[in-house]
């Protein structure tokens, strides 16, 4: 790239660079500051809050987005949400919460908005040279940092399938992130493709607003209502973990039995995986809408024929609007893939303990997991570990070496053997095992140095 001049990079000394000012980036900045690091956080957009901010031009929010995990399982451990908020706060409340977090801990003054990172180059051993490209103009700057934390998330690049004959279709085809306004569905015949959380939510939205709603789902999912046994579902399930293993299995099965039976009655495929293997679909209204016929469930879409959509089972539907709720492609663009352990044909990063670069000690990724519970607490503990690690590394090389061994051996343990066909499921971890592993990592880092 010729656009940046040959002038020397500005050296920021021991400072750490955080990429992204969404939830993960904000938590990273706060935890690094708490451990005494200077931090520069770069955000390509002009607002904080990442995907939770509808003003973010890449925001993936769709109409009426709510949390799918309950408040107590989703809030940042050291900054709880107001306890008079509902069990499942809305996207707007989530943004208010993140703004409050940033203000409370004075994070805004460390964020540089409108600054995209266009390159990260390792220099002099473990340091990094970061190329910051402003949104306007082409005068890129180069700065050197002691460490880099990537917190860009993985809900930015829409995963867009293409079907034969799609080009000739005259109606509207949208990705879920482009829908923005629910009134676009009003009075229309809507086809929603994709059986994940967003597809299910949008199908419910269409069920009450649209003239007709067909939902195309190609495989079985676990459907959980938002409440089980009078409690938020994720809390009710997490609470069982205190029990002995076999008893717990029995109780879990009993809790899930009702919604399992209902799914079967609605003619859904039996999921080919356990409910913890990948994020279940959490929506209490969906099955009722299927039950009252306002959502018509179909299989995979085979092709478009003119304005008709032909499904794999031969049935047809003529939609006015097609919503592709087909999720996102995980991917980190700003960083050379080999630093993240991307090897061979797979485009998946292979990180140690799902956060540390396998190639260099001072590069880490926060929040690149699908834990099946709220991501914020996981990111909190990840960045807590990362900032402690950077500190230990600086102060005590001997302990740092021992720690590296542990991380490598831990990493092998929680690979979930998911047969999932969608790319995001490769990010899935078993939350119990992952948290236990994070706990051991943090314990090692927080131990008093042996004298």
């Amino acid at each position: 790239m010729q656009e940046y001049s040959s002038q020397a990079a500005y050296d920021r000394g021991e400072a750490v660079c955080v990429i992204g000012a969404g939830a993960a980036g904000l938590i990273a900045v706060k935890n690094l500051r708490e451990n005494g690091f200077e931090v520069d956080c770069y955000e390509r957009d002009t607002v904080l809050g990442g995907l939770w901010n509808p003003q973010n031009q890449h925001s993936p929010l769709y109409p009426n987005t709510h949390l799918v995990t309950s408040r107590s399982q989703t809030e940042i451990p050291d900054y709880p949400m107001p306890d008079h908020w509902p069990d499942y706060p809305s996207a707007a409340q989530m943004l208010e919460y993140l703004n409050g977090y940033a203000k409370h801990f004075g994070l805004s003054e460390h964020i540089w908005y409108g600054s995209e990172i266009s390159g990260i180059d390792p220099v002099e051993g473990s340091r990094f040279e970061v190329v910051v490209k402003p949104a306007a103009g082409n005068s890129a700057r180069r700065l050197r940092y002691a460490a880099v934390i990537i917190a860009t998330g993985h809900h930015w690049t829409p995963n867009l399938p293409s079907y034969p004959g799609q080009d000739l279709y005259r109606g509207t085809i949208l990705h879920s992130s482009q829908l923005k306004d629910g009134s676009r569905l009003r009075g229309k015949h809507v086809l929603v493709i994709g059986g994940g959380n967003s597809g299910t939510d949008i199908a419910c939205e269409a069920a009450v607003n649209a003239a007709g709603c067909v939902h195309s789902v190609r495989r079985g999912y676990w459907h959980l209502p938002k409440y089980l046994d009078g409690e938020p579902a994720d809390y009710a399930l997490a609470r069982l973990s205190k029990r002995p293993k076999l008893f717990r299995k029995y109780l879990t099965k009993r809790l899930l039995k009702g919604s399992r039976n209902l799914s079967t009655r609605m003619g859904m495929d039996k999921p080919d995986h356990d409910h913890t293997d990948e994020e279940p679909v959490r929506n209490g209204r969906y099955l009722e809408h299927v039950g009252d016929g306002s959502i018509d469930r179909r299989g995979e879409v085979a092709k478009f024929e003119g304005n008709e959509v032909i499904f794999a089972d031969g049935t047809e539907f003529r939609p006015d609007i097609v919503v592709l709720a087909t999720g996102y492609k995980p991917g980190i663009k700003c960083c050379p893939p080999e630093l993240l352990g991307v090897e061979g044909e797979s485009s998946q990063p292979k990180l140690l303990a799902r956060m540390f670069s396998p190639r260099t000690e001072t590069l880490a990724v926060a929040g690149l997991v699908e834990p099946g519970v709220g991501a914020l607490p996981i990111v909190h503990w990840q960045t807590h570990a990362i900032s402690h690690w950077l500190q230990v590394r600086k102060e005590d090389p001997e302990r740092a070496a021992a720690f590296k061994h542990q991380v490598v051996s831990e990493s092998a343990q929680y690979e979930v053997n998911s047969t999932g066909i969608s790319p995001r499921h490769q990010l899935a971890v078993d939350v119990e095992e992952y948290l236990a592993s994070l706990g051991r990592i943090i314990d090692t880092l927080e131990q008093e140095p042996a004298k």
């Binding site: 107590s72 050291d78 900054y79 107001p82 008079h84 409050g100 801990f105 809390y235």
Partner: protein, 209 residues
Amino acid sequence: MSLNDWIRRTRIPEPAPVAREVAVFEPADLYDVDTRDDPEAAPILCCTGDGAGAAAFNALWLKRIAASGRYAAAVSVRGQGGTPAAPGGIEARAHDVVQAVTGIPRQAVLVGHGLGAGWAALAAARYPAAALVMVAPGKLPKQLPKPVGGPPVLLVVSEDDAQSKGVQAIAETFGVAPLTFAGDANDVFKGTNAEGLLDAILSWLDRKD
């Protein structure tokens, strides 16, 4: 708060929410006193075991803290002052303090008096306080968790209590030497002793800032 404490807490029911009474005094609220408003200084949130709750700090504390340039607030936990009673023990009261402090615009100092010192100490194990100040602590839980974020800790006791076993134990837990003040442990809300005590706390905070 360690990861395990957090996991444990997410798996027990949350205390019932209550509408908490919070009294707030900002430096800008004072017209009659010559203040130095310092936007950098951390706000202070006070709580006490006294049944009056937040109102106990109205006589002297809030105004004097605000006059020193800091945002001053006091909370009544469940069952105190204007906050309705609700079930829950010391954990629920610590929850009330955490909820009150996250409602303050900036990272705050936690000040606890009497039984309130225990709630403040528990709250500081969940919330990264700017500092933790325990004034004449009442009966504290035996096992006090480590504060998160490594805040500076100040223990203030009356001269009579300085040698007591309880105070020694707390001083040891937090690794601090207690600061002593003259007078009765319950006489901290007004009078000259109280003024001296409060000024000592404020100057300690200024030093730490």
